[in-house]
C-alpha cells in the first residue's frame, strides 16, 4: 500500500464524490474543487468557481435564469445537525432537469471554508408533503375543537330526539289499536284498554315543554330562586352586563359571595352594585351578615374564582372592613383573554 497520496489522487477521489464540494481560504482563493461543483456553478452562474467568496455572493443574490430557480419556502429541509460546528448558510435551487440541490457554506476552521452541494430532490418532495399534511391536520384539528365544544348540545338534542321518538311510537301504537278495534267492530270490548293507552300518551304530551333549550335568562333566574329557597335575597343595583361571558363571570362571583355570606355570616341579604365606565364593569358584592371580620384567609372557592376571573382578563379584590365585600372588575372586551398558558 502506498503511504503517500498524490495531489492527482486526491483530485480524482473528490471528483468521484456524487455531490459538489469546494474548499477555499477565507478570502475565497480556491484550494480544491470537484467537477460536480464546477458543473453546478456553471449552470447557475455561467462560469466555474474562480473565487469561492464571490461565487457564494452570486448564489445569495441569484436571479432566476431559466436554467435554475432559487427556492425560498419556509419549510425547506435545512440541515441543522452541524449547527455548532461553524457558521452555516444554506441555499436551495431547482435545476432545469427537476433536481433540487442544497448548497451549504461553513467554516471548517479559522482559515478554511467549505461549500458543499447535495442533491435532496426526494427529501424536498417529502418535506413539501409533510408541510401540506401539517396544514391539513391543523385545519382538521380546528374543526375537531369546534366539534368538542358543541358535544354537550349535540347530546342534549339526542336525548330530546329519543323522547320525541318515544312519543311518536306511543301515539302510533294508540292509533293502530284504535283503528283495529273500529275495523273489527270491537270498540266496546276494548274501551278500557284504549282509554288507558290514550291517557298515558296524553300525559306524556303534557310533560313536554315547548322550550327545549335553557334560556339565557336562566343564569339569573335560577340563582335568584335558589337564593330565595335558602332564605337569602339577592338585590341587583345597576345595569347588568350584556355579553354572556361577562354575565357568567358576574354570576360566578355572586355565587361565591352568596355561599360565603350564608355559610360563614348567616346573611339574609346580598347586594350586588354594578357600575360601568368606558372600559369595564365595576362590581361590588356585599352582605348583611352578622359576623364582623378584620381579615380572611382565602380558601379554595375564592382562589378558584380569582383564577377563573384572571384567566378571562377580569380581576378580584377582597375587602375586609367589618364585613367582607368582593370587588370584581370585568372589562367589556373579554374576547382577548390574558391567558398565561395554553387554553
Amino acid at each position: 500500500m502506498k503511504k503517500n497520496t498524490s495531489a492527482k489522487m486526491i483530485k480524482k477521489a473528490i471528483d468521484s464524490y456524487p455531490g459538489g464540494i469546494c474548499f477555499s481560504a477565507l478570502d475565497g482563493r480556491v484550494i480544491l474543487v470537484n467537477e460536480k461543483m464546477n458543473k453546478l456553478m456553471l449552470e447557475l452562474t455561467g462560469h466555474t468557481i474562480l473565487n469561492a467568496k464571490t461565487a457564494w455572493e452570486e448564489l445569495t443574490n441569484f436571479a432566476n435564469n431559466g436554467k435554475a430557480e432559487k427556492l425560498t419556502q419556509s419549510w425547506l429541509p435545512k440541515d441543522t445537525n452541524n449547527g455548532d460546528e461553524g457558521i452555516q448558510q444554506q441555499l436551495f435551487f431547482r435545476f432545469s432537469d427537476g433536481l433540487i440541490w442544497r448548497f451549504e457554506m461553513k467554516f471548517l476552521d479559522s482559515n478554511t471554508v467549505q461549500i458543499e452541494a447535495a442533491e435532496i430532490t426526494e427529501l424536498y418532495r417529502l418535506s413539501e408533503e409533510l408541510y401540506e399534511n401539517t396544514i391539513r391536520l391543523q385545519e382538521m384539528q380546528k374543526r375537531q375543537k369546534t366539534l368538542l365544544d358543541s358535544i354537550v348540545e349535540v347530546n342534549l338534542n339526542k336525548e330530546i330526539l329519543a323522547a320525541k321518538m318515544h312519543i311518536h311510537d306511543e301515539l302510533g301504537h294508540c292509533l293502530l289499536a284504535t283503528t283495529k278495534a273500529i275495523s273489527e267492530e270491537s270498540l266496546a270490548e276494548n274501551t278500557n284498554t284504549l282509554r288507558k293507552s290514550w291517557n298515558s300518551t296524553i300525559r306524556d304530551f303534557s310533560n313536554i315543554s315547548t322550550v327545549w333549550t335553557v334560556p339565557d335568562s336562566s343564569l339569573q333566574s335560577e340563582l335568584m330562586q335558589v337564593a330565595e329557597l335558602i332564605g337569602c335575597k339577592v338585590i341587583f343595583l345597576g345595569e347588568q352586563p350584556k355579553s354572556r361571558k361577562a354575565l357568567q363571570l358576574l354570576y360566578a362571583a355572586v355565587r361565591e359571595a352568596l355561599t360565603n355570606a350564608v355559610r360563614h355570616a348567616d346573611a339574609t341579604e346580598l347586594a350586588v352594585k354594578i357600575k360601568q365606565d368606558k372600559q369595564r364593569y365595576h362590581i361590588e358584592i356585599s352582605d348583611n351578615g352578622s359576623v364582623s371580620v378584620s381579615s380572611i384567609t382565602e380558601g379554595n372557592g375564592l382562589s378558584a374564582l380569582r383564577q377563573r376571573l384572571e384567566q378571562e382578563g377580569a380581576s378580584l379584590k377582597v375587602l375586609c372592613d367589618k364585613s367582607v365585600s368582593l370587588i370584581v372588575d370585568i372589562p367589556f372586551n373579554l374576547d382577548e383573554p390574558q391567558k398565561g398558558g395554553r387554553t
Binding site: 382538521m140 375537531q144 368538542l148 354537550v152 335553557v214 336562566s218 335558589v226 335558602i230 357568567q248 355565587r255
Partner: protein, 207 residues
Amino acid sequence: MIQVLVVEDSRITRDAIEAQIAKSEKYVLYASIENAANAEIACLRGRVDLILMDVCTADEESGLKAAAKIKQYNPKIKIIIMTSMPEHSFIQKAKACGCNGFWYKEYGSTALMEVCDRVMNGEFVYPEDTPMIRIGYSNSAEFTGREFDIIRELAQGRKYEEIAVDLDITLNTVKYHIKNILQKTGYQNTLQLVAEVVEKRLILPKY
C-alpha cells in the same frame, strides 16, 4: 321524608325523575335545577338529604365539580351522579369526589329509584364498568389508563411535545403509546381516532 335535589338540564329527563319522586312514598322533591353551580347554594341551610346530579349541566357547569365542593362541606348529603355519556373517567372521578352512587341513564338495567334506596341505606352503588364502546377495530375496555390519558390530551388539541410535558413522560414514550393505540384501532392517524372517540363521547375533557 327524604328531601331530594335534582340537578338536570334536560327538561324531559327532569320531568321523568320528578314524576318518579312524586310517585314515591319515601322521597320528596326539595328543588329541581338546571345548573350544577347552583347546587352548592341550594344545600347551604342543610335541608337536602339526596342529590341526583347530572354531569353535563346548563352553562357547561360540571356536576362532578359541584359534587366535590358539596361533599367537602356537607359529607352527609348523599350524591348520585347520573349521565348518558359513556365517558370512561366519570366513574373514577365520582368515586374520587366521594359520591355515593352512579347511574347511567341509557345503559344498564338498574332503575334509578332502586339506586336511590340502596344509597340511602348506606351502600355505595356503582356500575361495574363504563359501557363498552367500539372504537375502530377495538373496544374501549382494551385501552390502558395511560392510553386514555394520551387520547384525552390529543382530544384537547395538544401536540406530542406538550403531551410529553403534561404527562411527565418522554416524547418517544408518547409516540410508542400512540403507535399502539393506532394499531389496536386500525386508524391511519390520530385525528381519525380523536374524531371517533369524541363522537362516541368516550372522552369529554371539559368535565
